[in-house]
């Protein structure tokens, strides 16, 4: 019961963040919204794992948390520099 309420709240939050990701005037708004969607997805997977008593699925949430952070930093680097090089090597 309580997990269904929590999952519903997370889904509503994901919808609001996705609306901002589609509307966002700048690219940073979109990256912020996608970062939020990723964090909420981690929480949704964890809630679903405990809800359905299949706690092995928490591994998926852990992996998703790692991928989300790396993805956001990589996209930020790409937006700022226009490539994926380290800042030391020019052109």
């Amino acid at each position: 019961m309580i997990f269904s309420v929590a999952a519903f709240a997370i889904l509503v939050t994901i919808s609001l963040a996705l609306a901002r990701a589609f509307m966002g005037p700048t690219v940073y708004d979109r990256i912020l919204a996608i970062n939020m969607v990723g964090t909420k997805t981690v929480l949704l997977i964890a809630v679903f794992a405990v809800l359905s008593k299949r706690t092995d699925m928490i591994d998926i949430a852990l992996t998703y948390a790692l991928i989300n952070f790396i993805g956001v930093v990589a996209v930020l680097k790409f937006v700022e520099q226009g490539n994926f090089y380290t800042s030391g090597e020019d052109d």
């Binding site: 929590a6 929480l43 405990v50 928490i58 956001v72 937006v79």
Partner: protein
């Protein structure tokens, strides 16, 4: 143990309310930096409250250890991502709305 159940429900409800506050904040605030403020605080707190509540539900097991690992990683990576986002936006010349002359 009904006492631990009630405590974990309180944590999960708090996390849901924080998440909804962050969602409404990112949807309605007028400016990128104010949206960043709304999301950056509530996202970490929402994840922390949810994971503590879920770890109370699973008891002492390998699942709660994994939830603790997610908690530790999100607790460090989420503010780092927020800081990197604000830093990149500021370096690229995006000015806050309130910084302009009226």
């Amino acid at each position: 143990m009904i006492f631990i159940e009630i405590i974990s429900w309180i944590f999960i409800i708090t996390g849901s309310l924080l998440g909804l506050a962050g969602g409404i904040g990112i949807h309605r605030f007028p400016d990128f930096y104010s949206r960043l403020h709304a999301v950056g605080i509530t996202d970490t707190a929402c994840a922390a409250a949810f994971l503590i509540g879920l770890a109370m539900q699973t008891g002492v097991s390998i699942a709660s250890l994994k939830l603790l690992l997610i908690f530790i990683f999100l607790f460090f990576s989420n503010p780092t991502a927020t800081h990197a986002l604000a830093n990149t936006a500021m370096l690229s010349g995006l000015k806050p709305e309130l910084d302009k002359e009226p």
